[in-house]
Symmetry: C2
């Protein structure tokens, strides 16, 4: 079914305020969840909201916590998220990175003790909306084996890169696993094979069977050994720069995923001056022959289409998830 954006957001606000959260904070959190559903990222919008509420109830997310500065050197700062809402901490840190970039050309914030930021693209878009290049990444609990191994020891550590562009920003938002667990679940529910191999089955063979992958716990890193390596270095960067928890310590804490580490970088750029270069790149990329029935898109292009449709026709929501929200 479809629900007007404002109604969806108001429901999120209602639930959060019922937990004793101030209107200001409830509104900020609700906006992120509503925007994520609006942009077609259900897995980190409506569908994830009950988990966020549960985390607050269990005391894993402190909705009243604010980030505090722990270190600073010119255009590089360290902040402690004090286990506050991940979306608010992340939004705050990208804002700080933008301020540092305004003054220094580039700004870098490392954040520790924060919580799941939901959709990483949110903070890339935030930078692009302000006219800056945005780059950010997070570590996660272990959910993928390293190359050569069979047990989860790496996070899928999403990486986000955004470039401001008139008519729709370029926003890449990609986890290091070929498919997210949300996507695997979706293919399971639809009883469809994955479009490409997404992991290994119990016998160590590459498979497009989402159920087999979830059972073996052997999700595939993008590019095999390459995504495995990129996951390791992103965890190293986030942990070392923030002095926070690594995928190792998050996974071994015995708790649900909390207290993760993140990095936010903003770089000054002149979107107007660069419009021609950006257009040249996108036009050339799209200029080749396409596979029948497919098209060539820049990262973020399809999201914009979904957003437009959801704003015109109402945000598409899963019936069951919507009913659950109303019942909270």
């Amino acid at each position: 079914m479809r629900v007007p954006y404002d109604q969806l957001k108001a429901e999120f606000e209602r639930v959060l305020m019922s937990l004793g959260i101030s209107f200001d904070i409830a509104q900020k959190c609700a906006t992120v969840f509503a925007d994520n559903s609006r942009d077609g990222v259900q897995s980190h919008g409506l569908n994830r909201f009950p988990v966020f509420v549960q985390y607050i109830k269990e005391g894993l997310v402190n909705p009243h916590a604010m980030p505090t500065l722990t270190g600073s050197l010119g255009a590089l700062e360290q902040w402690d998220g004090n286990l506050g809402p991940g979306m608010l901490n992340a939004g705050f840190c990208m804002e700080r990175a933008l301020l540092l970039a305004a003054n220094n050309g580039i700004g870098c914030i490392a954040l520790k003790n924060t919580n799941h930021w939901m959709r990483g693209g949110t903070y890339g878009l935030q930078a692009a909306e302000a006219g800056y290049i945005g780059l950010c990444f997070t570590n996660t609990t272990a959910n993928m084996p390293p190359w050569g191994g069979t047990e989860p020891r790496l996070g899928n550590n999403p990486l986000v890169i955004a470039i401001p562009k008139a008519g729709g920003h370029v926003v890449l938002d990609m986890a290091m696993s070929q498919f997210s667990f949300g996507k695997l679940g979706q293919y399971q529910n639809d009883q469809k094979p994955l479009p490409v191999a997404g992991g290994y089955d119990h016998d160590g063979n590459l498979t497009t069977d989402a159920t087999a992958i979830k059972q073996s716990r052997r999700a595939l890193p993008i590019g095999f050994w390459k995504g495995s390596g990129l996951s390791i270095v992103l965890d190293l960067l986030a942990t070392v720069l923030s002095g926070g928890n690594s995928t190792a310590s998050i996974s071994q804490s015995g708790k649900k995923e909390t207290g993760v580490s993140q990095v936010f970088i903003a770089i000054k750029t002149d979107a107007e001056k660069n419009a021609e270069l950006i257009n040249e790149i996108i036009t050339y990329t799209k200029s080749g022959e396409t596979i029948e029935g497919q098209e060539i898109l820049y990262p973020g292009e399809n999201m914009l289409r979904t957003r437009k449709q959801n704003l015109t026709q109402g945000v598409w929501v899963d019936n069951e998830a919507w009913d659950k929200l109303l019942s909270l």
Copy 2:
């Protein structure tokens, strides 16, 4: 066969000086080529050297050119490589990024009009040797179709991330294609299938046949649509930040690959203070069960083994490539 490191380097120097290049510049270039072979990256060491010489002879690389500053804002600078040797321009720019990072915590250099930097890992190692985190990437000529397309429109745009670590730095050096053209050629020569699918055959089926991939010109991006998206954003970043040539303009120039754009970022860190965190991450990553006959390595670990062997026993070189060097 194996050749002592010093002999290999001296041969590179001899050839370069025979082209009228000063000892200082010849020595710097020779060191990069010799180091690359020493670290097992033949494709950008000895095997690539004749191409570099040819580029100088054709005037595509100006061995006497020095980079010039074109723009500056705090910790962000733009430089013009003036089509000088790519390795010298890249080394200069990472050095500049390190200086900016020393003063500002982070430094970012965008470089235009430069040439192939050979092995990107060289500049990551440079930062790590100085005790800094290094991150750099380059665009290239189009050599890979975008997701949904069948004709090369993207570069494989290598990305390098290095983290200083006692006992061997962590250095990730990865192109956006699953296999480099050097690697495809190697499997062709050995008449062996690739270990995983590396592209599409003429009929659009994924294949491990290197010859079929070279014929179709459809190399596979890492992670399918994900590596395609990452390649686009890296090209956008390098082009927009430097104001230089994009993969589009490099490919459409009608010339061999020259005048590429690159970005170098250095970040201050305290390797000693972070030793425990780094050790925790690597130990945990390696702690899981392994696939029979495989081991779990951190990026850069295997390179270090190769380096030690090549320094002890002499640098392994291809007989034919060595004879060619001697004849230059």
